[in-house]
């Protein structure tokens, strides 16, 4: 405010009102320019998504001849993809992701509790190790993971290649990961007096953890499990490498195999599947937006 009056003072004093007007006009022009940029970016960002939604209702069902406003809109594409194994893939994805999220959630929670409440030799080294291992993306270890599942599967068939159990086993590798740090932070924020009061009443560590602390961290745990769920749900590489039978495909693998080289014929049906496959994740994302954005910035800066 002070700065602008100063500038004004330096300008031609006689045409103060004219300058004010031109400033207003300049502001308008800048704003219009900003909205122009906004429009361009919105088109860039949303066009692929709108085009997919439109394709899913398009009567032609093929990639050519699609218009932005489908005329007339039809549900035929949805019927077509549901005739495929869509529900089967969806079910596979939900089973794998739910079990992974549940197990990862429990492991994370118990580990974070120990890191927060106990001190022992090697504690800080272990915390550091958890962080360092994350530097190597699991994607780089695909050949080794493939070989490990193949070998384990010789003796424990339900954890071998081409099984949901094997895939879940792989997702367990990251269970003791960055989430432990975040969850540990939440445990740290819970006053220790709660633990002490439990101890006075003669509660064991397990009882303190399960009956006193767990209810307090449950909301965070649920959010973190949902994020794990969708991390697994949208994974592509591991199912691609490990799963070969069509009936065991996850949704992402199924959709990719379905569209494969059939863009000309199956575009509409694929779009319908894409819309249905994206809805759960987009919904959850919009609901948890603030938390996710916070986690993205906080969690990554911490390292």
């Amino acid at each position: 405010m002070t700065a602008s009056t100063e500038t004004t003072g330096r300008g031609a004093g006689s045409s103060l009102s004219a300058w004010r007007q031109s400033k207003k006009a300049r502001f308008r022009i800048i704003l219009a320019f900003k909205y122009l940029i906004a429009a361009i970016v919105l088109v860039y960002s949303l066009f692929p998504i709108l085009w997919t939604i439109s394709a899913s209702f398009s009567p032609s069902g093929s990639i050519s001849g699609q218009t932005l406003i489908p005329s007339p809109p039809t549900l035929r594409n949805y019927e077509r993809i549901l005739d495929q194994d869509f529900w089967l893939w969806m079910r596979n994805s939900f089973i794998i992701s739910s079990i992974s999220a549940l197990l990862v959630g429990l492991i994370t929670l118990m580990s974070a509790y120990a890191f927060s409440r106990f001190r022992w030799k090697g504690r800080s080294q272990l915390l550091l190790m958890i962080l360092l291992i994350q530097v190597f993306p699991a994607i780089l270890a695909m050949v080794a993971l493939f070989a490990i599942l193949q070998q384990i599967g010789n003796y424990i068939p339900f954890l071998g290649l081409n099984t949901h159990g094997g895939l879940i086993l792989i997702y367990m590798g990251g269970a003791l990961g960055v989430n432990v740090w975040l969850m540990k932070g939440f445990f740290d924020s819970i006053p220790r007096e709660i633990d002490e009061s439990g101890k006075v009443d003669g509660a064991s560590d397990w009882q303190i953890f399960w009956q006193l602390l767990f209810p307090l961290v449950r909301p965070i745990m649920v959010v973190s499990m949902i994020l794990t769920f969708f991390g697994t749900y949208s994974d592509y590489l591991m199912p691609r490498v490990m799963i070969t039978t069509a009936s065991k495909f996850t949704l992402m693998l199924g959709l990719q195999t379905f569209i494969g080289t059939n863009y000309s014929q199956e575009w509409g049906a694929f779009a319908a599947g894409a819309v249905m496959g994206a809805i759960p994740m987009v919904t959850v994302y919009l609901l948890l937006q603030d938390y996710i954005v916070g986690g993205l910035t906080a969690g990554s800066v911490k390292g």
Binding site: T2, A38, S64, I107, F115, F136, M172
Partner: protein, 534 residues
Amino acid sequence: MAAIEVKPEKGPDSRRERPTTVGGTALRLLGLIIFDAFALFFIYLLLSDGYWPLASIIGAITLVINYVFLSPDAYPMRWMSPGLAFMLLISVYPILYTIYISFTNFGAANLLPKVQAISVLEQRTFLPETGATLQYTVFQNDETGEYGLWLIHPDGHSFFATTTDELEAEAIGAGPLNADGVPTAIPGWTQLTRAQTVRNITAISQTTFGREETAVSLTGRLGQAAQLQPRFIHDAQADTITDKRDNIVYTANNETGFFTAPDGTKLSPGFQVVIGMQNYKRFLTDPSFREPLLRIFIWNVVFALLSVLLSFALGLMIAVVFGRTMPGQRIIKSLLVIPFAVPQVITLLVWRGILNPLEGVVPNTLQSIFNQPVGWPPFFADPIWVKVALIIINVWLAYPYFMLISSGALQAIPTDMYEAADIDGASAWQQFRGLTLPLLLVTVGPLLISSFIVNFNSFNVIYLFNSGGPPMVGTALPAGHSDILISYVYNLAFGRGLALYGYASAITIMIFFMMVIVTIFQHRRMAAWEERTM
């Protein structure tokens, strides 16, 4: 109140007395014993099949678990024992195992450990010159369920063969023969129908029938059995395999991983051996391997750098331009973030459809604007256009992240700094260069580098859009113009039936090293950035 025992420090020591019950301890020990029994059995199985690396890590995990559950000092680690076990098995071990594989010939031709390769060979059979081919009919024992064969020799003689013996028709009290020369009834045995035989063919084929010297087993053809003999005999002492058919002796070559005859013929399957630096030497010294790898590497770096810089620039621009005052900026930003929430696989497959040069909406529009023929721009077939498309897509995927990060970081910059800059008469651009950007880089800088690592390995983008294509010409191994290292590794290991696990792992290790260097750089820079702004 005062009577309550006060702990000396806030963080309780693991050694502090813990109420332990006898029952609890017994249960813990029992659980541990059961776990150990399973682990030891598993290790034994792995070792006897030659999987010593996996056996070692399972052994290490077992030791850790035992230490954690037996030592009172390690009590807190009991809480994370499952996570610890998974981390060792699925995070730590794969890194070590990848290093190991990169020094072996593990691949399609050398898939198995030596013991298993030998036993595969030992199961092979052949029909010696003196052996005969017989017609069989399957019978099943009513009590034991074991199989027996009624066999008709080409010379007309027929008899019954159980898994241990050959019996004449009279000896088993067989009924009269039917038109096919098969007894209508054998007491205690039931003849299987053709359909039943087919259904149980695997079990029956795995059995040998009759006396050892003239043992008969099924051949590939239905209804035909033969006096097959094991073809390969392994001599453990000399480590040779003798082919009984022509008596050629194959000697184990532990450098190449094959049993090799004097004339150089190799027995298939080969076995896994450590071959030292050969995988690395291949792409370091052989131009037909090195050239494509170098081109892939350069494109990989360019792709990751451009993706990070462009998406950061775009995200930052939006964050700065929209600021916090522009009416409607919140809703616009929320809309811009939607692509971020759709599973990547889906959006990538959508992009592949939209950019399809023949029928996709973007090329079709461009064709009519620039008056070009159908098929232009060649987003799939032309190396340059593919790369342009990939950058556009990857920026599309990544910039909402940077927009969010930048918006957050901008809010953290105190406004009085801008006021001070205003007083000094700094222009908007000067303020951005001298104030906003340096302060922003403190928080966003490390994220830029980790984002570089993520983009360096963005397999999904490359693989789902165009599978790394178009293919390069004249390379020793199939490679694509838009391949990055990780998609190249995937194709060498799992695509196109190559299964070059050893070579693929060697390239993976190179990526590992680059990641390590970048991470060290990241920590240095972080320290430097922090110092500069302190």
